[in-house]
């Protein structure tokens, strides 16, 4: 993938908002519109050939989120530096709020109703944690980053949201928070052996963690390990999904012709298993195009991170890219039977606002990094506030 540098203003002078909007990489935006459109098409198909109730609403959501993404992208990155810690605190606060709500008898609730949509604080926290970590490492030189003492704050920044999300309980998101955070710490220059030890530690912790897992979580892991053991029970979803993927063949059964989906053999078609619907109807070719679009969009994010001159932007773009990549990887891996069914939607394509919003906000930040990648930021602060 080639990124034309001419599309970016390389001057150090302050750009106008209009210049910054025009300066966005519209090729990448187009890729995302294509992914979202694939989602609209699939939602249209799943609804049996009607725009209602899903496709139309999803289009409205995407339009709103697209504007939001562009807005975030053009905001001066120093504002995001300033907003990093407050965002983290806000995220943690919302998580506690959900926790308290749950404790007052609202059941295992993971979201807050904010009128037009249901807000999942865990999703926002995922972004905020990466922001906070990037903020923490910003202004620390390489030597500082390598020291063990400097790990103390990042671990706090990671563990608090992790614990709160695990308690929801939402193991999938909490692990994604850890994974995204660890990636940032790693990119910041923490010693490699630390990760090796951590890896061993996690492996050792699996049996202990197993004890703490809820029965349905244990079921999911067991089902993942052997889906055929209970094809009508817990393994039903994954078995039916594999049948749908496989029976699509090279070019698929055709738009609106998926039997596994239209005859309701597939579970959760409009959300977690929408990729399956897509592959059944458009085959390996369709799947390849969608995966390639994801790869382009995510690679772009990573490259923007690597090419960024300031540490905050570098870590933020890379961390968010990895986080979004995990999103896609887990969902696609899940429907193919490569991972346990963890209930992670496919961002941009799956029906629902939360995953879409997370993706667009995160990618807005990545684009903001891209926009300001030549900017140097004072180590101890944004220089704005």
């Amino acid at each position: 993938m080639s990124v034309s540098s001419s599309m970016f203003a390389s001057r150090r002078v302050q750009q106008t908002v209009l210049q910054r909007i025009i300066g966005q990489n519209w090729g990448i935006v187009l890729a995302m519109v294509m992914l979202a459109s694939a989602g609209f098409a699939m939602l249209y198909s799943v609804a049996g050939g009607t725009w209602e109730p899903w496709a139309a609403q999803q289009m409205i959501r995407f339009s709103v989120a697209l504007v939001l993404m562009l807005a975030i992208a053009v905001i001066d990155i120093r504002y995001w530096v300033a907003a990093a810690y407050p965002a983290w605190f806000l995220g943690v606060l919302l998580l506690i709020l959900v926790e308290v709500n749950g404790a007052t008898g609202m059941g295992g609730q993971r979201w807050l109703d904010i009128g037009f949509m249901r807000l999942q604080p865990s999703e926002l926290t995922k972004i905020a944690t990466i922001m906070a970590l990037a903020r923490y490492y910003h202004g620390r030189n390489h030597t500082q980053s390598r020291s063990l003492r400097s790990l103390f704050v990042p671990i706090i920044l990671l563990v608090i949201p992790f614990v709160l999300v695990v308690r929801q309980p939402d193991l999938g998101t909490s692990l994604m928070i850890i994974a995204g955070g660890v990636a940032v710490i790693f990119l910041a220059g923490a010693p490699a052996w630390l990760f090796a030890i951590s890896g061993i530690g996690i492996a050792a912790a699996i049996p202990i963690g197993w004890q703490f897992m809820r029965p349905y979580q244990q079921d999911r892991v067991l089902t993942f390990l052997n889906p055929e053991a209970d094809p009508l029970g817990a393994g039903y979803q994954i078995t039916q999904s594999k049948i749908a993927l496989g029976s699509g063949g090279m070019t698929g059964k055709g738009f609106m012709e998926g039997t596994q989906s239209h005859l309701n053999f597939l579970p959760e078609m409009k959300t977690d298993f929408i990729f399956t619907v897509l592959v059944e109807e458009f085959g390996l070719v369709g799947a390849g195009i969608v995966l390639a679009l994801y790869a382009i969009v995510l690679m772009y994010g990573l490259l923007m991170g690597i090419g960024c001159r300031n540490q905050f932007g570098r870590l933020l773009a890379s961390g968010l890219s990895i986080s979004l990549f995990l999103y896609v990887l887990i969902n696609v891996g899940m429907v193919m039977g490569l991972m346990p069914v963890v209930g992670v939607p496919l961002p941009l394509i799956s029906y629902g606002g939360s995953a879409m919003l997370t993706w667009m906000i995160a990618y807005g930040l990545i684009l903001s990094v891209a926009t300001h990648r030549h900017m140097t930021i004072a180590p101890k602060g944004s220089g704005i506030i």
Partner: protein, 599 residues
């Protein structure tokens, strides 16, 4: 980092390639297995006709509502919803609930049947909100002849739960199999072959559409009976409320024209599912409506056996046709006295008169000189003790006693006194109305006629029956005696025939059900009159006969259980049945074929 991402995407791509290209065939198959369900089409059952093509059993459309308990989470609310559309009585509801508990969960339970179109459509419209409910516009069996033919056709019922795996057809909702009678006996012939259709179903098994090709079911074969439905109905009306059986046979080809048993029952009630009250009533009726008396009822033949005894004696050379004996009303054998039905005796009489007047002493006297085994052999030659397999349920072989039977069953030697009892049709000998009709048919035709009820069956096309291997002169003597029964001085003379009616030949019989003790005989007023006895102790009334006497076409046997005397009760019935039956031969088509048989 970017490298890792690349590796991961490549991994996903490879996995996808593996699933949708390498293993694609396997998954395509499984996707088809998911969505395509092969369903059976129940064949239309063959109909049953009488000899003239009148329908005895047919199929009518039946709109049903069924419940598959396995497909609903909670039966209660579903039933309540159905109840708001279809009228289900509380009693029916509790019946349904019992069935649901008893049966396996995938076996459909019929909630209601025989619905009208309006109700049926209302259920169909509501079906998305009625989990587990199915509607079925199937066929159910109808017997237009009702109770006149219940004993012959039998009825249909759902297969036993244990049998449900024996054929996939049995698992079709509302599928019924022949449970009794011809419906059961000719199940394979009538049923036909099931067809199949492939349907696309969704995940909960609801049909979305049918996928060609469809293999149509093959209709079952029809069953044609030799029965004449009009005659059968006439006979049933004649028998009325009596516990009785009657058989009418054609003498040319052995066709059973009527095979009646009274009282009847309504086989349609069984097809619909008989209520317990009605079932108990049928079971408890002392007149045993469920038994087909014409083939299952075994009765002492009474005096109707006397032709056989006479023939045995003639063939053995014990008597000649003109041999005379003197009857003084009783016969002594050792310490026992055997009575004639006429206390004052018949005086001197020959064989023909002995049969015509049904003198018992005459037969005691010849039986005294006979071997029971010779009598048994002659009885068997005339079809007694034989099962003819005409196709209806419960054909009994009756009992033709002989020395061996006595030895095996009772481990005793045969006593001469028993031969005397057999000679007047009492004692151990038992026969069914069908056997007596066959006996009469063989006497009248002098051929070894066997009865047939089902015309589909392979039969010798010329319907030729071998001659009885009996001296024709002896047969003629016996037949002459049977004619004389109907004449002045004969036991059945009191039925006066109009001039136009055909001449009958026959024999009455009155079979005792109880032993008459010496004390009763000697008491004032003599033997208690039959009418004063409780119903169960009264005599059976029998009559066998054929007509026209000079050119026999049909043979008849009538038994009225506990009906009283053969002359007074059975003979008049036989007269009207024969008159009606002979009307059939006025139709030119049948007459032509009968003339050849009248040799």
């Amino acid at each position: 980092m970017a490298g890792l991402q690349g590796v991961a995407f490549t991994g996903l791509g490879l996995r996808l390639y593996y699933l949708s290209v390498v293993e694609s065939e396997k998954y395509k198959l499984r996707a088809d297995r998911n969505r395509i369900s092969v369903r059976l089409i129940a064949p239309e059952r063959g109909e049953i006709y009488d000899r003239n093509g009148e329908i005895l059993a047919t199929n009518v459309q039946d709109l049903r509502v069924l419940l598959v308990p396995e497909q609903t989470e909670d039966v209660g609310p579903t039933l309540a919803k159905v109840q708001s559309i279809v009228d289900l009585s509380d009693r029916r509801l509790s019946q349904i609930e019992r069935r649901i508990k008893r049966q396996r969960k995938f076996v459909p339970v019929t909630l209601a049947q025989g619905l009208d179109w309006e109700t049926f459509s209302r259920v169909n419209v509501q079906i998305p909100e009625l989990p587990g409910i199915q509607t079925d516009a199937g066929l159910s069996r109808l017997y237009p002849g009702g109770n006149a033919i219940a004993h012959l056709v039998g009825y249909m019922a759902s297969p036993d739960e244990d049998d449900i795996y024996k054929s996939p057809l049995y698992q079709l909702p509302g599928f019924k199999i022949g449970r009794q009678g011809l419906e059961r006996r000719y199940e394979d012939l009538l049923r036909g072959g099931s067809g199949t259709r492939r349907v696309e179903v969704n995940a909960v098994g609801r049909e979305i559409r049918e996928l060609p090709p469809r293999e149509e079911a093959t209709r079952g074969n029809n069953l044609q009976l030799t029965l004449d439905m009009k005659l059968q109905q006439f006979v049933m009306r004649q028998l009325g409320e009596e516990a009785a059986g009657a058989v009418v046979m054609d003498l040319q080809d052995g066709d059973v024209l009527a095979l009646a048993s009274s009282p009847g029952y309504d086989p349609n009630e069984f097809s619909r599912g008989i209520s317990n009250t009605n079932w108990q009533a049928l079971l408890k009726d002392p007149r045993t409506p469920l038994l087909n008396k014409s083939v299952t009822g075994m009765y002492p033949p009474g005096s109707t056996i006397k032709m056989i005894i006479a023939l045995a004696a003639l063939e053995q050379g014990i008597i000649k046709s003109e041999s005379e004996f003197y009857c003084n009303g009783r016969h002594r054998l050792g310490n026992n006295t055997f009575h004639c039905w006429r206390r004052q005796g018949h005086g001197k009489l020959n064989l023909v008169d002995a049969i015509a007047k049904s003198c018992d002493v005459y037969f005691y006297k010849i039986a005294e000189q006979m071997d029971i085994d010779d009598i048994a052999e002659m009885a068997r030659r005339f079809g007694l003790g034989e099962i003819f397999n005409v196709g209806v349920d419960g054909e009994k072989e009756g009992l033709v006693p002989d020395r061996e039977w006595k030895q095996v069953i009772q481990n005793q030697r045969w006593q001469l006194g028993e031969t005397l009892n057999v000679a007047i049709g009492q004692g151990a000998m038992l026969a069914t109305p069908l056997q007596l009709a066959v006996m009469t048919a063989r006497l009248a035709s002098t051929r070894k006629i066997t009865p047939r009820l089902v015309a589909n069956e392979a039969l010798p096309t010329d319907s030729y029956f071998e001659p009885m291997d009996i001296n024709p002169f002896h047969l003629q003597t016996v037949c002459q005696a049977m004619e004389k029964v109907m004449e002045q001085g004969g036991t059945a003379f009191d039925l006066r025939r109009p001039k136009s009616a055909a001449k009958l030949a026959g024999k009455t019989g009155t079979a005792q059900v109880r032993r008459i003790s010496i004390a009763e005989r000697q008491q004032e007023g003599g033997v208690v009159d039959n009418k004063d006895l409780p119903w169960q102790a009264r005599d059976h009334a029998l009559f066998v006969g054929y007509a026209p006497a000079e050119n026999p076409k049909i043979a008849v046997s009538v038994i009225v259980q506990h009906g009283g005397g053969g002359s007074s009760v059975a003979a008049p019935l036989a007269r009207s049945i024969i008159d009606e039956a002979l009307k059939l031969y006025e139709q030119p088509t049948v007459t032509a074929s009968v003339d050849e048989a009248s040799s």
